[in-house]
Amino acid sequence: MNRRAANGADVTTGASAPPLQKTTSSSPGRSPWISYALKRGGGVAATFVVAVIMTFLIVQLIPGDPAVSAAGQNANAERIEQVRQELGLADPLWTQFANYVGGLFRGDLGTSFSLNAPVSQAVFSRLPFTAGLAFLSLIVVLVVAVPLGMMVGIFTRNGRRPWLGSIFGYSTAFFSAVPAYVLATVLVLVFSVWLRVLPPAYSPGNLAAALVLPCVALSIASICAIARIVRRETAVVLEQDYMRTARGWRVSPLRMYMKYALPNLLTTTLTLSGIILIGMLGGAISVELVFNWPGLGFGIVKAVSMKDYPLIQGIVLVLAMLGALLTLLVDVILAIIDPRIRA
């Protein structure tokens, strides 16, 4: 069922759109935002509790003694035991958990065994690298994939230019299947080793240039996936009645696509973007290793090899909360766009 939006377009939200529902809050006179915020906030809090418990328990399963890692290969038994006492590892498990949770409430994530620095310092110094890379990659995805998918959808509408459709289909299928770390390696080989036009890894004196290759490596697969979806959505939207009406009004093509087609594509695209961004946080781990990018992924690999329990817990907890908050952000954005979602 269509309804007319403020811009005169019929509102349809794609194949996955929920059925139209009356927008009312559960309590008369109560803003629907409050109910929505309470429901979503409760979800985030539950995620936090589960993440705290899971991160504490999982690291206990890692074989090996972190006191040996911290004390070093040359340490004797006495020194190792001394280190074990200093790190609180000799305490019973429930005591360690209570100390851990108590520290969290004080904003203290503990002290890293391997860095001898507060975990919060280690995590939040790395977080901008990972989050910045993921966010910028997402922007690249949106800026490239949406116009690309739209253009291909427009040019191949109703079976036109089948050769373009084939090239687009096969190439996007290929690149969306190639793992990010493989792409990263190829990019380094071509642009850094052969052509020498971009730095091969993190370079503190040349951060902008050093960001290019990791960003490209992380975004290519998502660009292909999003572009394919946008192309399909474009084909559906272009066949809608309101588009025929716009063509009948002799609206210019650019205005027609930007004002009438694009908004109807964005809901699905933004929904997927949130999921993709969360996936990018995970994908950033392998990309960070290829580029020596000092983010959370790089840090957690080191932390696991060193059996640095507090740092592992801190990074996993922050990543889990970041994922939950990003999901919340996406839901809020979607609720802004489509009030029906708040119902």
Binding site: D65, N76, A77, A117, A122, S125, F135, I139, A201, N264
Partner: protein, 531 residues
């Protein structure tokens, strides 16, 4: 109230995303571009690479080779290695009247990074801290052996005297180790700050830590007015850099990319595939060292398969082809060992005839049908993992029923440090920081690790132990070498160890940098800029 249109809401939403991205990107630390300096004798910047963060900045508690590199730059030691032996570091001269009594004359031109003069008292206080059992330093034994030292200072005479309760002839070698670096009074007054590197006046070496971003990088800055360079047999080339910027990386291939692109000037590599990328590259200098040695040890604790069974140990030695191991471990690039230390070490045996020859037929006679052999492997890197597989295959080919457990580096050393029941045979990578044979002999002779010793195998070797102790008790080098040779022979005759190969690493410097090799170590404090 005007409602936002769908397109306006979409734009608003997109704006939220963009703003968040820009904020996150802006929060990323800006780079340190380095810079030129007008400090006399030091200028420019060098970039170096380490595999991971240092364990801390208290040299007495250092763990990991990356930490040793930092310690070498930040702290001076009493003595230093030179191309043909030992030279004075903070000591301009020294005497050893016996293996228990030493006296060091401290130079008068050394200062801490805060300008505090480095006197005999400063040196003595740091050594006392190192030797204090409450400090818990793993490196104290490299300097003082099993004894309790008495350390006294005479500032008027500028001398530090060390008297040991038990003789220890390797004290001089121990005092060259970076982990025994002299900590200045400001550092000893704030041990917590010292460990995290926040005490500005703690450093006695040519550099001070001026920027510390754990997980990201570190900057060391040349200490203004530093002049306490050792009197090397040949002078160092070039000039010290004003700043050395350390970056971190977990992947040698990426680091090689950075080096080839000009981003890194000094790095150490262990992967021969990566090292091969620098073949034919005339702009880079490669220095190969034997950073550690590999040899097979057996768990000889009571109740284990190889305890009190030298014939079975001999069979294992006969089943291992040293050259085949070399191929698997390092593509044939490593040094074949004739002892448990490289042949360049003082008093090391270089007689390969003392070792058990490869004899698969003889090995099969003893090992065929032997069951329950537990091989412990370390997956620290590809070489170690491949080496463990080679040992497994060799024993299996000899007819033994073998179980192999391969674990990560941390778990491996946990198991070894505990003594334990989880293994029968393994090959270890032995890093000898002091480059003194005694520090490797006690890995297979003497007290077991679970008894606060260093012997991984738990073997009981009275002849070897007596020879080692006697060697450490004499100041006479010839006598010492004879005794250490006796200890080595005891290991070979008892088949307590099976020497394999030296673990080579290659230090590569760019065209604008140079560093000096002393023995089996490239001294980071000699890293300099050249024209």
């Amino acid at each position: 109230m005007r409602k936002l249109s769908r397109s306006s809401r979409a734009v608003s939403a997109t704006g939220v995303v963009l703003s968040a991205a820009l904020i996150m990107t802006a929060c990323a630390p800006a780079g340190d571009g380095g810079g030129n300096s007008s400090i006399e004798g030091a200028s420019g910047s060098l970039t170096a690479w380490v595999y991971s963060d240092p364990s801390g900045f208290n040299p007495a508690l250092a763990a990991g080779v990356q930490t040793f590199q930092f310690d070498r730059l930040l702290y001076d030691t009493v003595l230093r290695l030179d191309e043909d032996g030992i030279v004075g570091g903070l000591a301009s001269d020294w005497t050893a009247t016996s293996a228990s009594d030493y006296s060091f004359t401290i130079r008068d031109d050394a200062t801490c990074s805060d300008g505090t003069p480095i006197t005999a008292t400063v040196v003595a206080d740091s050594l006392k801290y190192l030797s204090d059992p409450d400090t818990g330093s793993s490196w104290s034994a490299l300097v003082f052996g099993k004894s309790t030292p008495t350390i006294t200072a005479d500032d008027d005479a500028a001398t530090v005297s060390i008297t040991l309760s038990q003789p220890f002839a390797s004290l001089e070698a121990g005092l060259t180790v970076a982990q025994t670096g002299i900590v200045c009074p400001a550092g000893l007054a704030d041990l917590e700050g010292l460990q995290v590197g926040s005490v500005e006046g703690a450093f006695s070496g040519p550099y001070a830590l001026t920027e510390s971003n754990p997980g990201i990088g570190y900057t060391l800055t040349f200490s203004d007015g530093y002049s306490a360079w050792p009197n090397y047999s040949s002078p160092l080339e070039g000039n010290p850099a004003e700043t050395i910027v350390y970056t971190l990386g977990s992947d040698e291939s990426t680091t090689a990319n950075q080096m080839l692109a000009g981003q890194i000037d000094f790095a150490n590599y262990a992967d021969w595939n990566t090292i091969a990328r620098f073949d034919g590259q005339d702009d880079f200098t490669k220095t190969r060292i034997t950073a550690y040695t590999t040899y097979i040890v057996f768990n000889q604790r009571p109740g284990h398969l190889f305890a009190d069974n030298p014939e079975l140990r001999e069979a294992v030695a006969q089943s291992i082809d040293q050259e085949g191991f070399n191929t698997v471990f390092s593509q044939g690039n490593a040094e074949l060992l004739t002892s448990i230390v490289p042949g360049t070490y003082d008093c090391a045996s270089t007689d390969s005839s003392l070792l058990t020859a490869y004899d698969p037929a003889a090995a099969k006679k003893m090992l065929d049908g032997v069951s329950g052999v537990k091989v412990l492997g370390n997956t620290a890197n590809v070489s170690f993992s491949n080496g463990a597989d080679f040992v497994y295959e060799s024993l299996t080919a000899a007819g033994a029923n073998v179980d192999i457990t391969k674990v990560d580096n941390s778990t491996y050393w946990t198991t070894m440090a505990a003594g334990g029941d989880d293994w029968d045979v393994t090959f270890i990578g032995d890093q000898n920081a002091a480059q003194a044979i005694s520090a490797s002999l006690d890995r297979s002779i003497g007290l077991a690790v679970e008894d606060n010793g260093r012997n991984f195998s738990g073997s009981v070797n009275p002849e070897g132990e007596a020879a080692l102790d006697a060697g450490l008790a004499t100041a006479d080098r010839e006598e010492r070498c004879e005794l250490f040779m006796t200890a080595q022979k005891s290991l070979f005759d008892r088949h307590d160890v099976v020497p394999l190969v030296g673990g080579s690493t290659v230090t590569i410097t760019s065209a604008k940098a140079t560093a000096r090799q002393f023995g089996e170590d490239v001294d980071a404090a000699t890293l300099r800029l050249v024209d």
